[in-house]
Symmetry: D3
Subunit: 318 residues, 6 copies
Amino acid sequence: MFMHNKRLQYTVRVSEPNPKLATMMLEQFGGADGELAAAMRYFTQGLGEDDPGRKDMLMDIATEELSHLEVIGSIVAMLSKGVKAQLSEGQMEEAELCRQIGASSTSVKESILFGGGPALMDSGGVPWTAAYVDSRSEPTVDLRSNIAAEARAKIVYERLINITDDPGIKEALGFLMTREIAHQKSFEKALYAIEDNFPPGKLPGVERFASMYVNTSQGEGDMNGPWNTGELWDRVDDLTQVMPADGGDGIATVALDDADKAMATKLAARTMSNPSGDPLTGADLGAGPGAGRTTKGDKGGAPDIHSAPAMAEEAAPA
Amino acid sequence: MFMHNKRLQYTVRVSEPNPKLATMMLEQFGGADGELAAAMRYFTQGLGEDDPGRKDMLMDIATEELSHLEVIGSIVAMLSKGVKAQLSEGQMEEAELCRQIGASSTSVKESILFGGGPALMDSGGVPWTAAYVDSRSEPTVDLRSNIAAEARAKIVYERLINITDDPGIKEALGFLMTREIAHQKSFEKALYAIEDNFPPGKLPGVERFASMYVNTSQGEGDMNGPWNTGELWDRVDDLTQVMPADGGDGIATVALDDADKAMATKLAARTMSNPSGDPLTGADLGAGPGAGRTTKGDKGGAPDIHSAPAMAEEAAPA
Amino acid sequence: MFMHNKRLQYTVRVSEPNPKLATMMLEQFGGADGELAAAMRYFTQGLGEDDPGRKDMLMDIATEELSHLEVIGSIVAMLSKGVKAQLSEGQMEEAELCRQIGASSTSVKESILFGGGPALMDSGGVPWTAAYVDSRSEPTVDLRSNIAAEARAKIVYERLINITDDPGIKEALGFLMTREIAHQKSFEKALYAIEDNFPPGKLPGVERFASMYVNTSQGEGDMNGPWNTGELWDRVDDLTQVMPADGGDGIATVALDDADKAMATKLAARTMSNPSGDPLTGADLGAGPGAGRTTKGDKGGAPDIHSAPAMAEEAAPA
Amino acid sequence: MFMHNKRLQYTVRVSEPNPKLATMMLEQFGGADGELAAAMRYFTQGLGEDDPGRKDMLMDIATEELSHLEVIGSIVAMLSKGVKAQLSEGQMEEAELCRQIGASSTSVKESILFGGGPALMDSGGVPWTAAYVDSRSEPTVDLRSNIAAEARAKIVYERLINITDDPGIKEALGFLMTREIAHQKSFEKALYAIEDNFPPGKLPGVERFASMYVNTSQGEGDMNGPWNTGELWDRVDDLTQVMPADGGDGIATVALDDADKAMATKLAARTMSNPSGDPLTGADLGAGPGAGRTTKGDKGGAPDIHSAPAMAEEAAPA
Amino acid sequence: MFMHNKRLQYTVRVSEPNPKLATMMLEQFGGADGELAAAMRYFTQGLGEDDPGRKDMLMDIATEELSHLEVIGSIVAMLSKGVKAQLSEGQMEEAELCRQIGASSTSVKESILFGGGPALMDSGGVPWTAAYVDSRSEPTVDLRSNIAAEARAKIVYERLINITDDPGIKEALGFLMTREIAHQKSFEKALYAIEDNFPPGKLPGVERFASMYVNTSQGEGDMNGPWNTGELWDRVDDLTQVMPADGGDGIATVALDDADKAMATKLAARTMSNPSGDPLTGADLGAGPGAGRTTKGDKGGAPDIHSAPAMAEEAAPA
Amino acid sequence: MFMHNKRLQYTVRVSEPNPKLATMMLEQFGGADGELAAAMRYFTQGLGEDDPGRKDMLMDIATEELSHLEVIGSIVAMLSKGVKAQLSEGQMEEAELCRQIGASSTSVKESILFGGGPALMDSGGVPWTAAYVDSRSEPTVDLRSNIAAEARAKIVYERLINITDDPGIKEALGFLMTREIAHQKSFEKALYAIEDNFPPGKLPGVERFASMYVNTSQGEGDMNGPWNTGELWDRVDDLTQVMPADGGDGIATVALDDADKAMATKLAARTMSNPSGDPLTGADLGAGPGAGRTTKGDKGGAPDIHSAPAMAEEAAPA
């Protein structure tokens, strides 16, 4: 069961309202790596977890992330306070109000739709979705996802700090960013407290495919590194070796019964594409009067083409 | 630039059509941890990457994931082949066809909307969204996300293997699952080839908050572990110490100019909630004839309540 | 700041695992009217609220909804416990496991993707989205939205109770449903504690349009009721009176400057549709050999049409 | 069956094109509280409604909302007319055109993707989704949702009026806003024409939980009001009384059969987290050369930390 | 199986970084008509296609579209390169950095969340969704969808060319735009290589409804054209003829068994709306002290209405 | 302005309730090619269209599609009528009710959340989104999109007819399907009434790229057809010719100023990946006690691998 104390986990002191900065901060309120995503990630994992140590840790951190959601949301609320009152009481001149909230689409939506209250959308105006929560109910997987999520949240806070010059906001963001570092450390400890955690899950892989590195992107810029070279790796540079990687023909097949076969034949006959001939097409009809059919150059002899500055090939830079 | 060879990276041999199994396989075709998500994750990272070694690795693995998308999509196509032909040619008795595709909502959508062709949706019928791609343009972050993504993909393949008894599908899934293990190893090597990778990004944290563990979830079940106990951690059990964690009052404030202040006052007055009195409400009006107002028990004296088997409290199990 | 106690707000006693029932319960976990929607609705309102009484109430109820999210999520976790273990350890025969989780698409996704952990999606498998949260930062609006949201949540719990026969689940759902009634009552009181709350917001409407009822749907079934009849209403049955409702011509116009006018003329000329003539079309080309052009009946003389049992009009029921 | 007359329900006179203002207006075209949402809300309710009076009212208002969608869409089309022609005919200098449409992301999308035609997205560029439609097929619920929806639409129009200084647009918006007031009144009458409408639905609640108010958010700022105080309420300030609210232990349990129990045990053993010890982690490896392990301060002794102006704690405002 | 060569299909030469232009280009990277949509459309069709000619063509074009995705993504990456480095290394003054990325919401999201790496979202910041892919597994349908998709992609490139003045970008966009023209021609040829392709699919329509044109929108502006006039069409101007179009009563009915009938009667009784009387409503309660009930004018006599400049009707333009 | 008559455009006679069939029909109510998508596609085009003939046609067909939405929605309502009443009045035994609605996830959502009223979601339970509407404000593009959309809608109705054996539903679906054929014919006529409609839009392409066919997918199965062979085409089989297609180096470049260059260098140095060496990784740590590092075979010597029946390679079918 959750309880709430009216004091924030970190004091929020904002210098002055700024609706545009408010919408940038939304990234960590309702964005993909924001605090709701964090809270829900750990909370849903905690609910399904049976290991007592991990369950306790997940509920601890989930609860703290809710408190962080409150901190970042309070920053947004403070930054939006001026425009909220002006918009609500309608005393400011329309054009000025329009200019203030029109700094970005998100700011418009934040003001017109949400009235300046913190909304669970990201800095681009997209509503938060649980598609961001990638809990999978296997601790050797989820802890890796949590480590990555904390790393992502850390870097987003770092960027927000880099574009903010309000010292009170900078300080609060610094607190929140640091807590992500601390949480990442907890999840790292918890991952390695499971002694056999790689490969994740239970099934081992097929041995000869687990050390194969397929060099599918070739040309100037091909590089060696510990990720594809060394005793760990069987590197495949000749791609015909993996077309296919098994000993088969690389074709997809399914055994159909007679009824299905008959239907498939019928379908093939009905929709058969005639590879010979050169049918008249809708594009031929539409290529304009006198064109007859589209030709290689399309409209190519038409005088207006050569005067189209944007497209004439000779206008391109050498 | 991409090229394509018509042979698959792994031969696909499906024993018989099965539209319901097809839709389960969609999880790795158009699902959150599926092959399109993997390909797009590494491809977008590769496009933005300047480090030559990582760029090469990302394009290698992105390209291979596209080939995996082709393998899993071919499995779906083979499993759907019977119903596709029957649905298209309309020779099967309607009720039987309805029964075959009606095994799940996803199967209905796969058949009716997509006609049995592989669709980029997950096993629940939800279209693939780029919200699954969490590239952040910082290698110490992205490589951790990639490690986690490979771990997730691995476990989902493991589960699909666990529910499949078609040996050809099982074998192809085993190949795909193993490649995720190999990719995870590559990303691990690449992460640790960046010598100073923790904390991710450039800004260090605030020292005293980086080692603080806040025990926000308390009660029976509180546990110790390396994630919250030991020399690494300053553990906070008395939560009043972090209300707030700084030396402030835990309140959110913003400095408003006079115009904004005036508006805020006006807004407050207009929408003031009168805390005294007990206003008549819409619910009071709606509580039924003779009720006057809702009382503590709502409809409480009405005879039908006690006979409502579902809700009468005494009917609950002891 | 939030805190958590490991005991639930209501004890959850589930009789036996049931993955299909689990996914039905998801409606109130990650669905449109579920507990996350409720918690986030009140939490975001509370963050932006300045009236002390309403702010306190919103944080109280938001926090309780988080505890309800925990209760309903625990029900899902208990119902999924069997399949989670079987899927993870892979000891059950594949076909049997496939059958157990294959009862619905959502159940497949819950099992294969989420591994049996409670996921923030609805009973149809759609991820939760903040688009469900309709806070608008005006208390006379938001309180009405909250009243409606509680009413919706109440009826969804009622339906879940109607399809459940596990007494422990029924009892917990009864608790949750009743709390929605209580919350609705609180929001009703808070709405009417704002003495002048209708029309919501600040601007009055235009008098003569505020009492107009436009009878736009006519024919057999036209009815009178207090919503369109009586002294409150000026009812418009002759729709030409509101084409338009103002004294104008009912046309949309914009004043363009000369440059824009010139461009608009050019655009019109380029894309002009020739209303005379009867151009040959792509459909004409595609209507089959010998068809020349599509005629009124399309393919109408073709013998296969009359034998198509589904479509021949005479086959329709009398 | 629907019919259409080419005259609008309200004449639209726009002073001059303005693509940025156009995109603000989109909020009521393709936004959450916009006219499509309204039309579809009442239309879907009307289709499923059997009560003749309500069915008639719902179809009346749904049809009118479609006409409002036409009015607001016409405003958008007029405001976009200049940029549409310029973009289509490509006669304006590129940089100037880029500047005109680049006023907001939504304006870019409206121009580049939709070519200046009204698009069913909101002011933030998010496509309309039926997730906004909260019809639930229970009139005592749906009418409350409709009342709330009209209140929301009213306030959004009010805000658009507040930021518009084009008198023709202001007038048309005033008409649309007022009609929302009228519709709200109709829905109110229809709700209270159902004599027993609270609690909504059929099941009564559990008596003792229907009057309980749980004061979950405590601390300075705790308030009394008619929503939590008075004869209607049993207020719980000591939260241990509701941990849990029933007489149980507040624990979630499920009865597993032997097979499931065996599997659960196996799963627990495989993924057990070792709470003792202090494992070396990936973060330890990544904390940089010479670091050995992460320590409390992370990188704490590194000279560059103290020079990082953003984060050094002493740089925070007093 | 896919392979990759590190050279692009078209050389990308960008004159200077420009984050705002970068986000405009996203429309063809992660937008509805962008290259990922194209690639996935043809790829999913190719996987399910059995006709050898069409399958080959679809895989050819799908693969080329992936190369186009690489070209447009490289343009985005180049345009974002400056801000990416500044944001990552944090050396620029905060306000200046904030200004640079704050040109639009999408630019903020591209910078703060994605760090300047190309993201699969559109110019409005909305993540790519597979809902854009409209493959239906019937070639006479899919080829028409492909033709339309290429036409859409062509026009979006044309608009991007119109707003770009960087010659290197203009040239690359010209290449990409032209390839859409070429692809449209291929799909046209493939459609008409199926000799009988209209109506699409297998079932013919009902003859008398296939040539009916219903003039549902009437009034000034009613027009004739080959789409509704001529020997092909039976035009219906008197709409009562199609209410309904069959010989029935235009009513929806279902046969219910006795149990369902009984329940439906019970439901009707419980939720019956009383059409007589004029119930007191919540809006009446909320219309303010002294109002008693809402009257026609709502608040109409209140002095503050007349002073509300925005809404008083007399303030509207003549 | 829209008007409504209470009679449907086609009489709906449903034989008996069937919630599972109801949810299949949702595909054309709230699905991608359903009637709302059609209505909104033509309505938004009509609003922005200035050509009088096309504007009239678009509003005619948009309005008719709304009437079709009403017909298909009425079918859904009739099919859901039994379960709606049973669910609402709660008289059926719980398990039986659970079984009836549990036939698919969509049916569960349709019943539990929407109470049996027609909901704007598809047969897979996904809410309708305006992302389905691909109007682009250029008639030579939009008319092609409309042609394709009608073709898609036709085939989906055909499939629904194929799985339905209720004669009344089959007849109504036949009407709706046929109207899509008629609408396609209208849009074809309108497209070719624009005399010069190909390429769509205004800009011609670059001549030499408009006739190039790039054979990117090679291997057994390469085919010739009118789409890639003949006088229209310059076919490229040697892909090195288009790496790149221009005369450049196929590399993406941007000119950076000195400040940006300095930052880019700094970023590169900070995140440099060391290509030599073989760093110890997190996966090495996690590969289990005694493993030291992961080796080629991962866990390869562990006894449990060989006994894992699913994955041991020798267990794969020959």
